[in-house]
Amino acid sequence: MEGSADGRPVIRVEGLRKSFGHLEVLRGIDLEVHRGEVVVIFGRSGSGKSTLLRCINFLEEPTAGVVEVDGIRLEPGHRTSNKKELIRQVRIRTGMVFQQFNLFPHMTALQNVMEGPITVKGKPEAEARGLAMHFLEAVGLADKADEYPIRLSGGQQQRVAIARALAMEPEVMLFDEPTSALDPELIGEVLEVMKSLSTELHMTMIVVTHEMGFAREVAHRMMFFHEGKILEEGPPSEILTNPRFPETKRFIDAVL
């Protein structure tokens, strides 16, 4: 499954750095993600995993480096109208799922999923509705279409959030600790949906998570973040059973 037809990666990150004041959170990240690939990023909190995801769609402005998504190249600098439009194009091509779901509370599940296609892509309502129902079905929540988020469980809310991102038909999905805010018994249903994205839709995904079972089963590659750098990467079979660095081993032992 590695490598896309044209050989060009969907996401390419080069020399990415990000500082908050004096604190350097990302200290030179290079990575490529190819079509259909699932990359799991793990590491201690504060190691820069989430910041990397947020820099890829420019929710956070990197301090230095290059981000390329589906051929669109972004670099840090002043947000001119031109650059704002490029950022928007990148965001349209990347679906993001947040730790806190961030569903729109004043809209039903269906309206949440329809919102992107209608407002951002200008699709007619009927078409957007069909699209939204299709993805609500894909995450197993067609019967909850008319419920407001407050009446859904955390797991259901996160699945709606996944459907909302999918409805934009993105090239790549970014998952920022999607199960960390969930009660333990609700984690499984969300991971199951994420797994099906890979196996059935061959979705390209970058997943920040500590769910090692999911990683072992779904990831093609895993990256261990340590102090703002990728300390070690490789297929799960290798990295989980035979880590090269003591830091990686210690972390895996701690979460397993």
Partner: protein, 333 residues
Amino acid sequence: MRVNQGTGAGVARPPDLAQERPGLRERLELASLAVPFRVKLALVWLGIFVVLGLLFALAGFDTAWMREEWLFVLKGLPWTVIISAASIGLAIVLALFGALARLSRNPVAYGVSGFYVSFFRGTPLIVQLFLIYLGLPQIGANLERYVPGIHEALLLDPLTAGILGLGLNYGAYMTEIFRAGIQSIGHGQLEAAYALGMTYRQAMRRVILPQAVRVIIPPTGNEFIAMLKDSALVSLLGTVVSQMEIFRRAQLVGRADFRPFEAFILAAAVYWGLTTAFQFFQGRLERRLSKGYVREYGAERRPRFLPASAAGGIGPGALEVEVPTEAGPRQER
């Protein structure tokens, strides 16, 4: 609930008291506790009206005159409502743009809105009204030779000047209410909208403002009630007879027949009725907007600030809890 009045029957008392018969004070307290709060509240209100009625009778108010003239005062009500509704409409538009400007990084928008809020909150409403009504024509007259027709255009009738002044003044206060309302929506909502590819404008229109409205409505209702009363100030500009609102009419008949107290009590009653009716409608609007924020259907029918058990015992006053506004309490402008 039955209150046990017997001695030592299951009720734990300090040992020395338990031996004696309950004193008068004790019995009164127990009797009082047996009366529901709601009944007591009704009695208090009844008492207030009895005392007021008594004062009324003692003052020798001319009730016959009041019966005769109350319709005349009441006819000012449509104008009070028109002035207030037009002004609050203008204020809402100004507050929306003012708030967005206060949150913008555009130096022109930020600077102009900062000046606007500072000036109109920092000077008395009555001064602003006179500046608009008397000051603008003077500017117009002096500019007439450069811009023909401007004198005429700035010569506002009292009603227009009043609406403009009230709208500008309240818009400044409400700018801060709107800004706080917009800022109260969590940052995650904006990020989620951006992540979908929305522009700032789309995110505001589709995601942030619809949620902020819910936060903004209660303090805006407060402002409207204040405005219903402040609309009386427009009279000081001297409205034409056909457009007189409640206060002006009361003043007029009160003076003509030398019945000032009677006239202003009528005016007060009309204002009071108006604000009470408005509060009722505001409550209904707020309940409608709570959709998506309440878990069980039907729960929105109960006052939101109280647990279900307490709601029954407090009575209608519970819904009229004053919502603190960003602008803070204020009596005069």
